[in-house]
Symmetry: C2
Subunit: 240 residues, 2 copies
DNA sequence: GTCTATACCCCGATAGAC
DNA sequence: GTCTATCGGGGTATAGAC
């Protein structure tokens, strides 16, 4: 309901700019991202880009949202394509996270690396940001539900020595957040899920940022070992 | 055996420069670090700094080594001060890592955040870099050795479903590296130690970089829960 | 909407006087 | 060893012609 041609052209240019920005991001990292550089890449002059993005920070925000959404969608798709077996869904989801990260190291650095100094992510980013973690939590919830008593081990892993404060108020926010998305997890599983998410991220981060140079030679194989043990700690069996 | 006065003055200025650089690092991050800025901070002109550091990258390298060493020393000291009980040493070492990181977020970002584009860490950094991980591995080795059969659980945690490749060749480099420092770990414990190190780092990283905003409210308490469970997974009990 | 031109900052690094 | 001055590059952002 409006001048469609002009609007469509605008959308096209906007997509071009975003694509060029992601190119720069992917192989040079967030700090190397500048409006001038992407302007050069798309054959525009820098001031023209300002008609599409009021500032460099707005471009960063758009990239942040696009990346969070792309990663989240990749995980959700992998999960959906993995069939009904929770252990297989877990493997598919975790592998999807790593695959995307390895394919887009600059974007990974934007999402999970050091924050860009002087830039604070606005509120619009928090929902896309939660998407991946929620997808993981959903898989865990289903796995734990269906694993209860299915094999010899209890659905909720025992925590004989994990003392201070049980699940405690430290993670109360997580309970609230998950509940608002219709996900309920036993306390112990909740903490284990947070840990697993941190471990998956930490492992990929170590691999991409070069901290495995003299210890892990095969990132692929090692990652599979890690997620197998994480599933184990969560009370179900990973299925490869 | 040389002109001491002049040399001493030089050392003093050098220390001043490094201190100023660490200041900038701590509250602005690695990318904001420039020779000109630190020159202003110490009241010098930029060209004068080049008499002490041939390039910005050399300054970065010096900071990298200083930070790795400071973190490593903090962990080693905490370990040594914790007494003989392995579970207590583990808690002390892990807490020391987090304390240092929280106190120096910019330095943490330099060591473990996104790599600075265009800068590649030289070989001199790898030994200091390994110091912290080695300290952790030593604690684990001692804990596992003394925990064997001490309580009901075996010293080496069982891995019922952790299939692909046992410990596998993926971590063969880690075996070699540890052995060169006189540390031997059972395969399963080795993988678990690598995982624990990734989890500790990932947890601190999430906390510092703002990924726990709607899930973890008390970083201190949550971290203690995490390291308790990690010890459990490694086959011994954390002692708080 | 897109261009040129510009104001005003930053940076790394070097030359040469003192 | 420290200074001034400078080269040559980068950047954000805006004004105003077309």
């Amino acid at each position: 309901m409006a001048p469609t041609a002009r609007e469509l052209a605008r959308q096209t240019v906007l997509a071009d700019i975003l694509a060029a920005a992601r190119m720069r991001l992917t192989d040079e990292g967030p700090v190397a991202l500048s409006l001038r550089a992407v302007a050069r890449d798309v054959g525009m002059v820098s001031s023209a880009v300002y008609r599409y993005f009021p500032s460099r920070d707005d471009l960063l925000t758009a990239l942040l949202i696009a990346d969070y959404d792309e990663l989240g969608a990749a995980v959700e798709d992998a999960d959906a394509a993995a069939g009904p077996v929770p252990g297989a869904r877990w493997v598919a989801a975790c592998r999807a996270i790593r695959s995307w990260s390895v394919a887009h190291p600059g974007d990974f650095a934007l999402l999970f690396g050091s924050p860009v100094p002087g830039y604070a992510a606005p509120r619009e980013t928090v929902v896309p940001a939660a998407r991946t973690a929620l997808a993981l939590a959903r898989v865990v919830a289903d796995a734990v539900a269906s694993a209860s008593g299915a094999d010899g081990r209890p659905g909720s892993p025992s925590a004989p020595t994990a003392a201070p404060g049980a699940a405690g108020p430290a993670v109360a926010d997580a309970v609230t957040t998950l509940r608002s998305f219709g996900i309920e997890l036993p306390d112990e599983v909740l903490v284990r899920t947070l840990m697993a998410w941190s471990t998956v991220f930490g492992t990929i981060s170590f691999e991409l940022f070069g901290h495995f140079v003299s210890s892990v030679s095969d990132g692929d194989a090692y990652f599979d070992q890690v997620i197998a043990r994480l599933a184990d700690d969560l009370g179900f069996a990973a299925a490869f």
